[in-house]
């Protein structure tokens, strides 16, 4: 029972993802949605930090419909799980509460 962090801003334009990464604990999860899915690109700002957190046990997810809408399927960094809204709902129940980073 930890925190689910959601990030909906592009890390190329906003510092939102970095703020999330700073306070994310090893038991938390991160969900990228809307323009936040630009953070799945291997060269995105924060991509290295994201992979480091994944290695430490943090689960990272991205909404598949937001990935597809933006044509990013071929550009994804490894170990990011693509999910739909049903799984998003389930994730909020698997965590104790949700912090939305705008």
């Amino acid at each position: 029972m930890s925190i689910l962090h959601t990030v909906n801003k592009s890390p190329f334009a906003h510092n939102t993802l970095f703020s999330c990464l700073k306070v994310c604990t090893e038991r938390d999860g991160i969900l990228l949605l809307e323009d936040g899915v630009f953070g799945t690109i291997t060269s995105a700002p924060g991509a290295d930090e994201l992979q480091l957190l994944i290695q430490r046990g943090v689960k990272v997810f991205a909404l598949i419909n937001d990935i597809k809408a933006r044509g990013l399927e071929e550009k994804l960094a490894p170990n990011i799980e693509l999910i739909d809204y049903n799984t998003f709902v389930q994730l909020t129940l698997d965590h104790r509460c949700v912090q939305s980073w705008y």
Partner: protein
């Protein structure tokens, strides 16, 4: 019923109405006798700066409202130390005296103690 709630305020004052409208939620929660804390982080720490003269841009003074948080029984005021440092803001430049400075790890821990998070 009582829940542990934390409002996380990360936006600068005045450029958008977010900072101002977030505070109103904290005040409402206190009126309803809920245990609410506020965490100021990122540009949100600018809200706490002294000597704001927002009448110059026809807006209400946010730091005045924040200086009254204690009157509303809102006692847990948290400030992200690294956000202050990045902006070269000292704690004696803030309108609130009684605050708790947190590092990144502290914040991760704080979030994990809450029942609900109100994110701004």
């Amino acid at each position: 019923m009582n829940k542990k709630m934390l409002l996380i305020s990360r936006q600068a004052p005045y450029g958008k109405s977010t900072a101002r409208e977030a505070i109103d939620i904290a005040l409402a929660a206190s009126v309803y006798d809920q245990d609410i804390g506020i965490l100021f982080m990122d540009d949100g720490v600018f809200q706490l700066l002294k000597s704001q003269k927002s009448q110059n841009i026809d807006q209400k003074n946010i730091s005045s409202i924040l200086s009254a948080l204690a009157l509303y029984g809102i006692e847990n005021i948290y400030v992200h130390q690294e956000s202050l440092d990045a902006r070269t803001i000292r704690t004696d430049e803030l309108v609130v005296d009684d605050l708790q400075l947190l590092n990144n790890k502290d914040i991760g821990h704080l979030l994990n103690q809450q029942d609900q998070l109100l994110s701004f």
